[in-house]
């Protein structure tokens, strides 16, 4: 599988070419070049997946290290494995991610040619898209946690660049800054977690970290090096893994780090589809999945925390989503809620056989969600393109004007609501089954969220495509072919990806197993979804005043929710009043007077001494010789008498 290095090399090369030479190309050429490069990468990813899943014998999947280049060798006798490597690890989840990333990225590349047409900085956009694809691919195939961290940050940078694409718009700049700072803040925990973990285990390598002994039910290396060690009353393993999860929570917008994602919608819509819906935001889920054996065997309590944080976030975001009026924000909160679903699934998962259903379901939902959420975002992009607004109030009755968008949006809505036989039904259903088997509270919570999801998605759907038609200045028109074709392709995935035999392919212990449908749960979730859809139909199919009356009847709660429960304000209070006003003022004083004072002193001393001694460099050779011989004598004296 040596060719897999091309998966990373080509996007990086595209980034360099388009980034450095883009100003010499026409926009169209740069777009085509980027898309062509990615088409090759996509083909390679599919070929890899084909070889990995379909050509190998079923049963236990092997993990293949396609290559592993040692970048910094820090090993010595005490720590033979401590080195930073850049490599490529192929196992079921990374191969699946390859397919997800390249598929969505390919569609986004094509779609953007229409959506971004005529934008200033078109080449820059494609360069950063390539950079992002490179970074994301590097992240999922990382052979060690340090490589993952490097690409993790690269992903953050490219996300920053894409959010701030319209850098002349102050809100976009603010949003980019916010996204970057919040995720960076979470990444700090990730880094500390990595350091703790590698300090004890003396390796970064995933394969060594996740090696499991089936007999003793332990993650061997982590257990032998960290087991039983305590710090402030908590086991060190738990602390490290919790910190690593917090890093993942930042990228995956889990509560309380979710605040950056809705604002990140300031970026171009296709970029949102790729980064803030399908790929980057699931990095946290992927991270937990990657280290899953360690979590499961060595820190099950952290998994519980993950499950409950996930459940809370999914409920919380779903409630907010019901009150938003900006269509991209609705989708953003829906994304948060759905990713939280995946976290719940990981949190309740077991390890072997059918116990590991949560793991499978989480990855499965990741796959299907990437497809339908990318569809939704790109369809939303078509709508925004047509009506030139993000606000629901500017929309309505669009089904007459935009047939193709209407159908694809409908398919994706049914999928996310979990209606049989679309993909979302299967993946969501397995999550509910896993939750049901593990923890009843989580099950009821997630079922309720499923209903809410169906409600707010169809609220969006009816508001856009039915409802009353406002007076459009220009009649909305269907998007061009390069925009709706990717939509159509993604909706094909949306329809059929539920039928893939995921449990054969993806499992926590790499051994495939059979899933059996649990009918009561399947029927229950469908009923809940239908109730949600029905309610949405009742409230939003035609213009009426019931929604406003409901909102008024619980006004306080509604205002709270529509203001996202004031979490942003809490952050602002903490940062502005407490951190900037209190802690930072003291630190600033220290910095200005002590640190700067020291540096000034250093500078002043240097300057003064330099001024005073410049006479030595007189230019006369006699003096040079004199200094020379004095130097020799001093050295001899020093050497003899010291």
């Amino acid at each position: 599988m040596d060719y897999t290095i091309l998966l990373l090399a080509i996007p990086f090369l595209m980034f360099l070419i388009i980034g450095l030479l883009g100003y010499k190309m026409t926009p169209k050429f740069s777009g085509l070049l980027g898309s062509a490069g990615l088409a090759v990468v996509t083909a390679l990813a599919y070929y890899t997946a084909y070889r990995y899943f379909l050509q190998a014998a079923e049963g236990a999947w092997e993990t293949i290290t396609a290559f592993n280049y040692t970048w910094l060798d820090l090993s010595n006798a005490n720590r033979p494995d401590l080195m930073i490597q850049i490599g490529m690890l192929l196992d079921p989840i990374s191969v699946m991610m390859l397919v997800v990333i390249t598929t969505v990225s390919m569609m986004v590349h094509i779609y953007s040619m229409g959506y971004m047409h005529g934008e200033e900085g078109f080449q820059r956009y494609y360069a950063v898209l390539s950079l992002f694809t490179f970074a994301m691919l590097g992240l999922v195939v990382a052979t060690n946690i340090f490589q993952m961290y490097i690409f993790w940050e690269l992903v953050g940078v490219s996300s920053f660049l894409l959010i701030s694409f319209y850098f002349k718009k102050p809100s976009a700049v603010r949003a980019a800054k916010k996204a970057f700072i919040v995720t960076r803040f979470a990444d700090m925990f990730f880094l500390i977690g990595i350091l703790i973990l590698s300090y004890y285990t003396k390796t970064f390598d995933f394969l060594k970290l996740t090696a499991v002994d089936a007999e003793t039910q332990q993650a061997t290396l982590v257990f032998s090096t960290m087991g039983g060690k305590m710090f402030m009353g908590m086991s060190v393993t738990s602390i490290a893994l919790l910190l690593i999860f917090l890093g993942g929570a930042g990228k995956s917008a889990m509560f309380p780090f979710h605040i950056w994602l809705p604002d990140a919608m300031e970026g171009p819509t296709p970029a949102s589809a790729l980064i803030h819906a399908a790929t980057m935001v699931v990095a946290g889920v992927f991270l937990v999945a990657r280290l899953f054996p360690v979590y499961y065997f060595e820190a099950p309590e952290v998994l519980h925390i993950i499950a409950y944080i996930g459940a809370f976030t999914s409920l919380f975001a779903a409630i907010i989503a019901c009150t938003q009026t900006d269509i991209k924000r609705v989708l953003a909160f829906s994304t948060i809620s759905q990713i939280a679903y995946m976290m719940v699934a990981l949190g309740v998962s077991g390890y072997e056989g059918h116990d590991g259903l949560g793991f499978t379901a989480s990855m499965w939902h990741l796959f299907t969600h990437a497809m339908f959420k990318a569809t939704l975002f790109m369809a939303a992009g078509c709508i925004i393109h047509a009506v030139h607004s993000n606000e629901m109030d500017a929309m309505g009755g669009l089904r007459h004007h935009m047939k193709k968008t209407y159908y694809t949006f409908a398919i994706a809505c049914f999928a996310i609501a979990g209606i049989f036989p679309l993909s979302g039904f299967f993946s969501k259903d397995e999550i509910l089954v896993a939750a049901f088997e593990a923890d009843k509270i989580l099950y009821w919570c997630q079922t309720f969220v499923a209903g809410l999801t169906a409600f707010y998605m169809f609220r969006l759907f009816f508001r856009i495509f039915f409802y009353d038609e406002p007076n459009y200045e220009h009649t909305p028109h269907e998007a061009p072919a390069n925009m709706w074709v990717p939509l159509a392709i993604l909706s094909v995935f949306t329809i059929f990806s539920g039928w893939f035999p995921f449990s054969k392919w993806i499992s926590a212990n790499l051994i495939g197993y059979e899933i059996h449908t649990v009918w009561p749960i399947a029927i229950g979730s469908t009923v809940v979804a239908l109730i949600g859809i029905g309610t949405a139909y009742f409230l939003y199919y035609k213009k009426n005043d019931i929604p406003d009356r409901i909102a008024n009847s619980c006004k306080r709660f509604y205002t709270w929710a529509s203001h996202r429960f004031y979490i942003d304000e809490v952050y602002l209070f903490i940062t502005n009043k407490i951190i900037f006003g209190g802690i930072c003022a003291a630190i600033a004083w220290f910095d200005r007077h002590i640190i700067d004072g020291f540096m000034d002193l250093l500078g002043w001393t240097t300057n003064t001494v330099s001024e005073e001694t410049k006479e030595i460099q007189s230019g006369s050779v006699q003096q040079y010789a004199w200094v020379f011989i004095m130097g020799v004598i001093t050295i001899v004296t020093l050497a003899l008498y010291l």
Binding site: T70, S610, K614, I616, A625, I629, M630
Partner: protein, 480 residues
Amino acid sequence: MDIIKEFYSGFSIMNQEVSLVLVLVFVLLADLFCGEKGKKYLQLLAIAAFALNVVYGFTLKVDSTYQDSFAGMYVTSDMHILVKNILNIGTLLVFFFAHYWNEHENRSQSGEFYFLMLSTLLGMYLMISSGNFLLFYIGLETASIPMAAMVAFNKKAHESAEAAAKYILTAAFSSGVMLFGISLIYGTYGTLYYNEAANAFQAEPLQIMAMAFFMAGIGFKISLVPFHLWTADTYQGAPTPVTAYLSVMSKGAAVFAFLYILITVFRNYAETWQNILWWIIVITITVGNLFALRQKNLKRFLAFSSISQAGYIMLGVISGSPQGMAATVFYIFIYLFTNLAAFGIISNIENQTGKVGMDDYNGLYSTNPKLAVIMMLAMFSLGGIPFFAGFFSKFFIFLAATEKDQYLLVFIALLNTIISLAYYLLVVKAMFIKESANPIKPIKSDAMSVIGLAICTVGMIVLGFISPIYEYMTSISFGI
């Protein structure tokens, strides 16, 4: 017959020297016989011939870890070969940068330029590979005396002559001191072979004195404080390509030879020479920085910068460990690209406008963005800003020193890095921030300089990331 056969077989491991001598003789003869018309091609021919030699150098390898010939007079190892290869690369880069100057300023003498420079290179080879103080001394002088001629190459310029005079006088003086040291070594050890001298250790004061004198003599070559005073005047007066050559190659060769002698001949005095070096490093870095801050002439500025850089290089020497050797060689390797990039730009601008003052560079970015950016990279790399190559070389050298518990020394060096940043950034500030009513006009660089600058730029950006280089150096390095 056997004796003759044995004598010639001694050359069999001297491939690099032999091939360099061939190039050297070839250049000399070509210069003699090419006539006026052929002068046009002489430079290209010389560069091509030397480039072949560079490539050839990389094909060489020593069978065992260490080999000698002529009864231990000449020694070589993979590390020796590598250091010579590094010097080769640097010399080739200097040739690239000197091409334009040779073409326009001293066309009739360009053959001499190449001949002299290759002669000094041969001297450095011998310094590096010697196993005996006599050969070392011969190498040293072979490297110094043609160098003086090169410093004086601008015959019409008063400055150039002055620089050469100062150089040759100080060189003679330091040779005297060093010879005194060597004679003491012979007097007390009874031998001039490194290996035998090392075994004859008796810890007599005379031997320690011998070592100190020797250190002073070679300190001149590396321009360690207090033996550095010639540096600024010579660097400023010499033609820029020669300055570049002096600042990198001459220093690099001397450092490696010094390191080799310290860890072979004086390995039993390690504590003593480490103590001496400790002080020398501290004052070298500090004094270099202090004086660099005030300079207005870029060549003079880089002279002091190179003094302080020499101090950093010695940080790798002080540990005497294999890791220290690898770090030292790596530092020289990176320093070569970085410093030559800076000198390449200076020489490029000087050739076409005659300007070398720091104030002349005001607003350079607006007129010559590419040159300004490369110069900025070079300054960043010299200052050790991540993630340019200079950061990695500093990092490894600090690492090597801390492994030998030189914490205080590394701390002082770190403080000095801050000071050095201040003056390196002065150049960047002049180019990017300051404005000038009369900036340097846009320059069209000649093809050779462009090649040289491109190589240096790639080196500065990429080399730090290519770990096999450093790993290879670690694998072939040795120490006490």
